[in-house]
């Protein structure tokens, strides 16, 4: 399963009433609070075995499943290089 699909599944699992696709801005939908943001970061770190550094904790990296998937790809690529 792709990282994008896993991220979408996680978001849909938490907010089953919302219809979300991979390019939809989840902040614009209005249900991201600090609790969900924390859960989202923990999910990404646990699922993909990465640590998201402070400088990557920017809103643009978390707006869409596409953006989060790209972040995961960058971080796992960094791991491979290291």
């Amino acid at each position: 399963m792709s990282s994008k699909t896993q991220i979408l599944d996680f978001i849909r699992g938490r907010y089953p009433q919302a219809e979300i696709d991979e390019s939809q801005d989840i902040f614009a939908l209005g249900f991201v609070n600090s609790l969900f943001a924390m859960e989202l970061v923990m999910f990404v770190e646990k699922t993909f075995g990465v640590t998201i550094p402070n400088e990557e904790l920017r809103i643009d990296n978390f707006r869409t499943a596409d953006a989060m998937s790209a972040l995961v790809a960058r971080l796992t690529s960094d791991l491979a290089v290291a």
Binding site: G13, R14, Y15, P16, Q17, F27, N33, S34, L35, A37, M38, E39, L40, V41, M42, F43, E45, K46, N54, E55, L57, R58, I59, F62
Partner: protein, 377 residues
Amino acid sequence: MTLTSTAPAPAGAAPVTGRSSARAFVDTHVVPYADAYDSSGRVPEDLLRRAAEAGLWDPLSMDMVTLGEVHEEVGRGCSSLRSLLTVHTMVSWTLRRWGTDAQRDRWSAPLAAGDALGAFCLSEPGAGSDAAGITTTATQTGDGWVIDGVKTWTTGGQRADVFLVFARTATSIGAFLVPRDTPGVTVTPIDDMLGTRASMLATITFDGVALGPDALLGPSGFTAGMVLTGTLDLGRYSVAAGSLGIVQACLEASAGYAARREVGGRPLAELPLIQAKLSDMVTDARAARLLVAEAGRLKDAGESATIMATWVAKYFASTAAARHASEAVQIHGASGCAPGSPVARFYRDAKVMEIIEGSNEVQRITIAGQAERETTR
């Protein structure tokens, strides 16, 4: 940072590495003196040193399940000491999770050794569980930050060396490390609280406190709220464990008293109404222990489900503590209301657990919100 500037620490505090060593430490160094701490309104330097000897100020040296067990045992002996450990643990964890290398280099070692104690500054005169209502500001300047505002109910504030201060920035809420000796910081003790009377609470005033650019802990912008969420989650976990410790303490005190005290020639323990109270204590202690352990296991696994598991554990354990502390006083009768009565202290401390790190009302809103989401799947 006064711990290392005094006489050599007394011998006798063996390292605490888990439940059994924590229990031994608490039974030797805490339980016999906890009522005296409560009366005097402070945990003495001697005990802070012994805790340092035992490694209690280095909570990150153990996994979260073990940390929960240790904080339960400390809470069984003295909620004030456990409260000091809670806020220190919150600062230590936040530094490790979100700190820069420079921030860790400066604070990690002294915090772990107990040479510096940390405290957590969120509540204000006009904002408690409503964290979004804080008015303390952090204004970015050309060469750093300036903090202005008043924090109150700060556990350990009278004694802490570094404050983790949450303040409103231009875009969100940020976390700032503020050394106690920074000009503009004023500490005003709060005495005679209902419970956790020895936890050295204070009101902290920040009046034009100028800090360097490295004072900000963690990300700025939208994710800054996560620092607060994560810090409070750990505090809630520690309070859940400490509340469980109160239930266990109530059980042990009540079972002992009921076995010794006779009514009409029979021990209290033979009365069905007393047996009912004791059996409820046993049951709730076991249930709370499972909830705390599950929250800890999820933390150790890095599972996001730990946040809700911790809410549930704290809600259950704190309400159980308040209920059973009341029953423990009831079982002890007038002697439970007497000066220096441990169960009277448990009763007063337990009430505090229903308020701190998110009041029970806020907990119910959050837990119910999760249930609502789940039932719409």
